[in-house]
């Protein structure tokens, strides 16, 4: 059962990501990305992290992607111009370089380490809301407080950047 769910969610997640990359329309891309994130939530559930699965759907597939869809629909119109221009021939080796590096690393790692088991079933309470909360407000309290400052700065930054006015001195 676990095997079937892994292959189901994993394949669909990968295909969703692939469709996101190849789609021309930004809205269709965003919807495929939401699909991919939902399958990622399934993967989290398989890894006995039910709280993360819920947060993945709420925060990622919900909040962040809605923000993306809002912006895409706000900017609709000449958004896609120039996408049809082919990439210059001489650039292809440079484009292929980073993905090739990742593939070589991955294949090398799998060859060297072989299959490594996930180990025993985790202790009860692992990955539930209570278990994560104990860590978040205990061992990782400082990181938790700092991330709230990051979010606050992001809010202020987005407000400042998005504010309309600007009589630029050099215009």
């Amino acid at each position: 059962m676990e095997g079937f769910l892994f292959w189901f969610c994993g394949t669909l997640m990968f295909l969703g990501g692939l469709m996101m990359v190849v789609q021309r329309s930004a809205v269709v891309s965003a919807v495929w990305l939401v699909f991919s994130f939902l399958c990622a939530a399934g993967i989290f559930a398989l890894l006995s992290a039910p709280f993360l699965a819920v947060m993945q759907i709420l925060v990622y597939a919900g909040a962040i992607m809605v923000l993306f869809l809002f912006v895409i629909m706000m900017l609709q119109g000449p958004v896609l111009d120039g996408e049809r221009v082919p990439i210059k021939k001489g650039l292809w080796p440079f484009i292929a370089l980073p993905p090739a590096a990742v593939i070589i690393l991955l294949v090398g790692w799998v060859k060297g380490e072989g299959l490594r088991s996930l180990g025993d079933a985790p202790a009860p309470g692992f990955g539930t809301a209570e278990g994560v909360a104990q860590l978040l407000l205990g061992r990782y309290l400082l990181a938790f407080e700092l991330i709230s400052i990051v979010l606050l700065i992001a809010i202020v930054g987005a407000l400042v950047i998005g504010k309309r006015e600007r009589k630029l001195p050099w215009k």
Partner: protein, 101 residues
């Protein structure tokens, strides 16, 4: 066949690769940002997988941190994008050559 840690890592690597290729090949800035989100999501899977292997919930906490960072990145990045679109009427990154104009 038993599903091992390696399966999860290869899945995360494949998804990361997809996002990376998309980020390099696409020229629509919004889709490039969505590719970054996909890459962040694949790293979250690695965090959760190793957290499961070690039986330690610390990885889950860092996935939550990653969610917050992704949200901040999306908010700031999209705000910058909207501002650029107001001035240039395009989100094609080939046309972004100067930061200040």
């Amino acid at each position: 066949m038993e599903i091992t840690l390696t399966h999860y890592l290869v899945l995360a690597g494949a998804v990361f690769l997809t996002g990376m290729v998309g980020f390099i090949v696409r020229r629509n800035a919004i889709i490039m940002m969505m590719c970054v989100e996909l890459m962040l999501c694949s790293t979250n899977i690695v965090f959760a997988a190793f957290s499961r292997v070690h039986g330690d919930g610390g990885g889950h906490v860092f996935v939550l941190m990653n969610f917050a960072v992704a949200a901040a990145e999306a908010a700031i990045g999209l705000a910058i994008l909207v501002e650029i679109f107001r001035r240039r009427r395009t989100v094609n990154v080939d046309n972004f050559k100067a930061l200040m104009e």
